[in-house]
């Protein structure tokens, strides 16, 4: 029907009716064009609808459909159409993490010189404080490096997968850069991280001035420092 309506309404044939015969040379062109046009429109619609459906399945909780076609859904959504809308959901974090680093180097006499702890998170907090537009390097860099490390390592500090090893390298690089940035002259061969997790007191709890007791105090192994980048 659509096609019939269009046929003959070659633009200049005015309010062309079906009986207006297009010139013979034009007969094939417009028809092919129309078919192509209809297919293109159909394709656009189908792709848009499929995309929306797949995105829906990607954000929906796991269900029988997404379990069966999980692989296809992931192949479509990742990496370009990743859906990550879980900021503060289902629950916001109820703790603050403090990440500290110290370094060691071998002195000429063979003994180990260990530096005092440097509070890396405090540096980030200071960078965020009283800033209208805090940098990603303060809010996301160390925070996400650590959460990715935990995601791939769990409670164990041995890297059991390629990704885990990558995250360990990354975390180590971040710490090294931070320490070097803080104290430019410092040379060191090893670095160690300590992560202190402190809970946010439940509302209504008496506010005390000293920080709450840590729920976790995780000491990571010494890592040999490898020079990267620069």
């Amino acid at each position: 029907m659509r096609k019939r309506e269009q046929s003959g309404s070659g633009p200049l044939s005015g309010e062309g009716h079906d009986d207006a015969d297009p010139p013979a040379t034009m007969a094939i062109g417009p028809r092919v064009l129309r078919t192509g046009l209809h297919s293109a429109v159909g394709l656009c619609l189908v792709v848009a609808l499929v995309h929306v459906a797949v995105v829906f399945l990607a954000v929906a909780p796991s269900n029988s459909f997404s379990r069966r076609y999980g692989q296809q859904i992931n192949a479509w959504v990742y990496p370009l159409f990743e859906q990550n809308w879980r900021l503060f959901a289902p629950n916001p974090d109820s703790f603050n993490r403090q990440i500290l680093a110290r370094t060691a180097r071998t002195a000429p006499d063979g003994s180990m010189r260990v530096s005092p702890w440097l509070d890396l998170t405090a540096v980030d907090r200071a960078a965020v404080k009283h800033h209208v537009f805090p940098s990603h390097t303060a809010q996301n860099l160390l925070r996400r490096a650590w959460s990715s490390y935990v995601d791939t390592h769990g409670a164990d500090d041995t890297a059991r997968s390629e990704r885990a090893a990558m995250m360990q390298t990354y975390l180590s690089n971040v710490a090294v850069d931070r320490v070097t940035g803080h104290d430019k002259g410092r040379r060191f061969d090893f670095i160690q991280l300590r992560v202190v997790t402190r809970p946010v007191a439940a509302p209504g709890a008496r506010v005390v001035n000293r920080p709450p007791t840590p729920v976790e105090n995780r000491l990571l192994p010494w890592w040999k420092v490898t020079v990267h980048g620069k």
């Binding site: 029907m1 309506e5 269009q6 309404s9 070659g10 633009p11 200049l12 309010e15 034009m26 062109g29 417009p30 064009l33 429109v41 656009c44 619609l45 848009a48 995309h51 995105v55 829906f56 929906a60 990742y78 990496p79 159409f81 990743e82 859906q83 990550n84 809308w85 879980r86 900021l87 503060f88 959901a89 289902p90 629950n91 916001p92 974090d93 109820s94 603050n96 998170t121 965020v128 404080k129 009283h130 209208v132 537009f133 990603h136 390097t137 809010q139 996301n140 860099l141 490096a145 390629e162 990704r163 390298t169 990354y170 690089n173 090294v176 850069d177 007191a201 509302p203 209504g204 980048g229």
Partner: protein
Amino acid sequence: MGNEQARELPATTVAQGGSVGGARPPGTVRRPLRARADAFWNVLTSRPVSLYATSVLRIGYGSLYLVFLLREFPHRHEIWGPGSPWTPTLAAQLFDQTGWYSVLILSDSRAYFELCYALAVMTSALFMLGWRTRAMSVLFAVVVTSFHARAIFMTDGGDNLILLMALYLVLTACGRRWSLDARRERIKTTRAGGVPVRARSLVARELRAARRTVVTVVHNCGVFVIAAQVCFLYGSAGLYKVQGSFWGDGTALHYVLNLELFQPWPTLSHAMDQYPIVIAAVGYLTVLTQVAFPFVLFGRLKYPVLVMLLSMHAGIAVLLGLPLFSGAMLIADAVFLPDRFYAFLPHLLRRGTRRGGVRTPRQGTGLGCVPVQGGHPDGPEEYRPVSRPASGRGGQAPSGPTGTR
């Protein structure tokens, strides 16, 4: 986007359907289904919807990314550069595993990175201004994808949304309003003096018409995808929160306000934290608004909900120090405002300035000037009836009230 256009649809359909019906033998009875399919076809192919809204998205995301790039200027090496802790080697290794790609890892040289950074800044600025918009939108998508992928472990939900929108905006004709392209077209039209008829062969005209239809359809599908994406975003964010105990007992915002990395103004955060009733009310309101969002879009209720989202994101931007995230979300909301709202904005502003005693010319050719309503600045031949794809279906350019209001 959305319902405003949908609502005005019947008028358009009637007008066009009428003329088509007139050309048909009187015996033909249209089945309602067919009529409905035709009406749908009309919406899809006759006119790009939400041209102002997509332009607002272009300006919004272009400028937001520009601000982001410039804000991170002192940290650019740490985030995207070859000296980043997420080394080019690590990035390449991850790309091998995930299929990501970034133009930034093509070379480890610092000069190459600086060039990429400069090009990214330029692309964002030109995209924002709407200069050769379609090409710029592709470049902008490449830039955002590359920079996002290079620093994937430094991103958050805001970056995620900017990436999605940069990709979707490639589909849309987001340079038709409030852009350098629109300005150029307007000047061209003025110069041509309204007689832009150029002799073309029939096939060439048909091809142009077909191309225009495809562009319109791709645009409309793009707007649909953007709208659906924003609905899924809010719907899922809200429904995830519903499952959380802190959101359930109304204490979630207490914990949010006590996250040290999201405390640019600790005094303010602690002061807010002193009012548990307010905290609970705002928390409930947040969840309700987000869950309700996809369902209120088809009625007047969307305006108060949009205002609530606006204030919610303003709060997030200031209190949690997440202006990029909030900005990305706010710009996305703009897609749901109808074109007549945007068309009315300059009038409002003009009235405001006139009342303030500042005289402004009624018609300008500047960037901020809105094209004459009822006409289309999209090029002279664009809406000439002669080159419409089909007699019964083309965009009725001077369709007056239905076309633009």
